[in-house]
Symmetry: D2
Subunit: 134 residues, 4 copies
């Protein structure tokens, strides 16, 4: 089941399809789920993982908002999408930095996902600013 | 990036991994995104899609809760998971029935996703009741 | 700012306003916030609060879905509201039972909120079944 | 039931309590609910409210993330809070501007709530930058 196809089938989306935004939506959806799962696994570890739980749950909540807001195509809301992608970039980087301090397999996987999602947000923003400048 | 692997890496999950629950988590995550996108596309259609928007946004919110709650493995919360999966089954079926009334490509895709997610919830519940009975 | 007034101003709500459902919406909104805050406070306590974090985050996610789904009045989705209120009742009771085991001020406040929200869900359900039977 | 008291009871919050942040949390929680309700009422109006639904659902999703992320006090995540408050300010202003175009009672109430929430985000940000400069 493809989020990308779903966005393409929106009545207002034709030639105007932006693949970088669609990729950011898909990875933010995955990143929200991975961070939610990492926070849960961290709370079950024997050592103190409070700082990591915090970064993961914050990142999960923001990625979830991205996966919903950035997927929409009705009427447009460009300044909102831009500022939310910026917040997501900051949250993903903060979570990756914290998870990279820990050797748990779930933290390593979460850090990798967050790096990828931060990268997607940066590319989507770059594409949006390029379009505004054109 | 795999939600299933993430759940396997939880410190409390070993031989106790339940593949039917993991599948329900993954498809609920997708179904939340597809329903969110279908509601947005419906609001941009020229005809009155109010009933379909309602079923889609309700289903999206409930699937999102499922994708978060059912992914957790710390300490257990079985009765909560069961009743939430039941609510998700009802919401997915209601959304599928409504979307099946419309010819839009996004509605057809959404209906198919909802049928699949309802089926996953039913199988996950069946597995949980089988485990309780064992 | 009142959620109740907001629901009254919906174009389809006239004499059909259900005060018990509106109360459940308002308290589910508060309960989602209180449980989110209690989970965060629990993760900062020195003792092992993993079980309490789990019950709080699950309850928060489900209450949040209730505060969104049950507030809607377009076209109707009664069976979905009923099954979601039941899941919320179960989640609030499970969270209250766990929080009542701890002496932290945030846990006591959270337990009280969860008991109240479970009670609201039960009353709203009773009202809905009474209406179906009438 | 008070979100403010809940934040005060967090083990790491003592003299460090920030009333402007707590106010932003509370109003973002309300704004998420009001925008969710306004979007639902808009979809039931006879005229085309697609643009207003879009602004409301985007604003609701972002306010909801604020009400969760900004309420947390474990370990700190200041740059994330700042960029999320900025996104919330942008989303609330965009939603207020759209809702102010319509005479529906629910749109007027939603516009007022969004103006208030944007103002709270600005004040909370000002306080955070003042604290960084001190």
């Amino acid at each position: 089941m493809s989020i990308t196809d779903m966005i393409r089938e929106h009545p207002d989306v034709g030639d105007d399809f932006n693949p970088e935004l669609a990729k950011a939506v898909k990875h933010a959806m995955y990143c929200a789920a991975i961070c939610n799962s990492c926070a849960d696994a961290c709370s079950a570890e024997r050592m103190d993982m409070a700082a990591c739980i915090r970064k993961c749950v914050d990142c999960s909540d923001i990625c979830q908002a991205v996966s919903r807001v950035v997927a929409r195509r009705t009427d447009g809301n460009v300044p909102v999408i831009k500022s939310l992608l910026e917040a997501c970039f900051v949250a993903c980087r903060a979570c990756a930095e914290e998870c990279e301090r820990h050797a748990h397999a779930h933290c390593r996987r979460c850090a990798q996902m967050c790096r990828e999602c931060a990268d997607d947000c940066a590319k989507a923003l770059e594409g949006m600013y390029r379009a505004s400048a054109a």
